[in-house]
């Protein structure tokens, strides 16, 4: 389908107006919301992610593409909701209590949305209970926590311990990220994975949810 192929191309160029226009055109051509999402927007963002991983493009290119994707997604959302089409999975993310750093976590959220996941972003300075309560209320699959300070990293363990206390630890996969973290630390506190950037977080979430 030419429109979807063009959508892919303009996603890569981060051309908001064209992506918006082509999404509207694809809707008018009755391509189907799910098909436009999967074969147009998500496929475009997947190509962008691959090019970034291969160092062919840079972070600003990825974020310009993400803006274009969001413009298209805004047009599709009402149709997806109307047809009751579920997203690929649900992820609750936030920066842990005591920490006000927002950017890394936001970038992860942008990349996850770009990959077709529903993201509930709790923002920064999020209390341990809030992560779990939101995950329960929304039926999330994954909880993602971010910390940029060595002094706030231990809050991640608090969330995991609280999930164990509540007997819900195995209801969710828990991923962690942030500059001072490591694979070793993630293992030590009982998280399921450490993600070093947004693209890696997408791969990680996909593997947990067995999404191809």
């Amino acid at each position: 389908m030419d429109t979807l192929r063009l959508l892919n191309e303009y996603m890569l160029k981060g051309d908001v107006e064209r992506v918006e226009g082509l999404t509207a055109q694809a809707i008018a051509e009755n391509c189907g919301a799910k098909k436009i999402l999967d074969e147009g927007l998500i496929a475009g963002m997947t190509t962008v992610g691959e090019k970034f991983k291969a160092h062919d493009i840079f972070l600003p290119d990825v974020l310009l593409a993400a803006k274009a994707m969001h413009a298209g997604l805004d047009l599709l959302k009402p149709l997806l909701a109307k047809d009751d089409i579920p997203m690929m999975g649900k992820v609750v993310i936030g920066t842990v209590q005591g920490d006000l750093h927002d950017i890394g976590k936001s970038l992860v959220g942008i990349m996850l949305k770009g990959a077709g996941f529903e993201v509930i972003d709790l923002g920064k300075d999020v209390a341990p209970e809030k992560f779990l309560d939101t995950a329960k209320e929304t039926g999330a699959d994954i909880i993602g926590m971010s910390a940029l300070l060595t002094t706030t990293m231990p809050v991640m363990k608090k969330v995991i311990d609280l999930a164990k206390e509540q007997g819900i630890r195995h209801d969710y996969k828990i991923i962690v990220g942030g500059a001072p973290l490591s694979d070793e630390y993630a293992t030590e506190i009982g998280a399921d994975a450490y993600c070093y950037d947004g693209i890696n977080a997408v791969d990680c979430v996909k593997s947990f949810l067995e999404v191809k």
Binding site: F58, L63, A66, L100, H101, I103, L107, T151, A179
Partner: protein
């Protein structure tokens, strides 16, 4: 001496090259026109919103000993321990580029302007470092005026949270320096607000005292390693 200083924005504006490097574009010639345009646009936002300001206060070695110890969480072999003991002058400092620019970053993200938000974040971080550099230069010039600076003297900045100096030392640093006077606050996690702030100690002494190898075990966790370039530049410099 205790002094608060405002800096002209143009004196602490980072270069496009530095911003792009912070965005992962190590070679700015590889960036296409739209990224270069975005960087230029971001710089104009920075110049409009940044309010660079700093505060500096001399501190004696005796007072600094307690401050450096902080809450007792430092690594035993933190290099600053021996560096400050051999120093000639010490001054605590804090700088920020203000709240306005820090509020603009999430606003851009909220408007789906992710690339602009991310680039402004990098620009603000670079600008904060430039402000710290400007304050360090002010300190050097003030030592020069008192004939206490010559080509054999080196000056370097150190911040809690780096090089084995535990971040909890921020508490005593803030008690002594009182940077709330210029709008910088500290939370219970030792995080400064505005987020784009830097604090620490400026050390002046014989250049040789600053030389150390990055072989401490905590160096392995450091993703910065700017100490290497700073020590190299210090040893090669002959400014007077």
């Amino acid at each position: 001496m205790k002094k608060a200083l405002k800096f002209p924005v143009e004196k602490v504006t980072p270069s496009v090259k530095a911003i792009l490097k912070a965005q992962g574009v190590s070679d700015s010639s590889m960036a296409d026109d739209r990224i270069l345009r975005l960087a230029e646009k971001t710089l104009s936002v920075y110049e409009k919103l940044a309010r660079p300001i700093g505060i500096i206060r001399d501190i004696s070695k005796t007072d600094f000993k307690d401050l450096f110890y902080g809450e007792g969480n430092n690594e035993g072999d933190a290099p600053l321990g021996s560096i400050y003991e051999s120093s000639r002058h010490l001054a605590l400092f804090a700088v920020t580029i203000g709240n306005q620019i820090c509020s603009e970053i999430p606003a851009l993200f909220g408007a789906n302007d992710f690339a602009a938000g991310s680039m402004l974040d990098s620009t603000a971080s670079e600008g904060t470092e430039k402000t710290a550099e400007a304050l360090e230069l002010f300190y050097r010039e003030s030592l020069s005026r008192k004939d206490e600076y010559n080509p054999s003297i080196g000056i370097m900045r150190f911040s809690p949270g780096y090089c084995g100096w535990h971040i909890s030392a921020q508490k005593k640093l803030f008690e002594f320096l009182q940077p709330a006077e210029i709008g910088i606050e500290l939370n219970d996690s030792y995080l400064m607000t505005p987020l784009k702030s830097v604090s620490g100690v400026i050390v002046a002494g014989k250049k040789e005292i600053f030389v150390f190898d990055d072989l401490f075990y905590f160096c392995a966790d450091c993703d910065n390693r700017s100490c290497r370039d700073r020590i190299k530049a210090l040893m090669e410099s002959n400014s007077f």
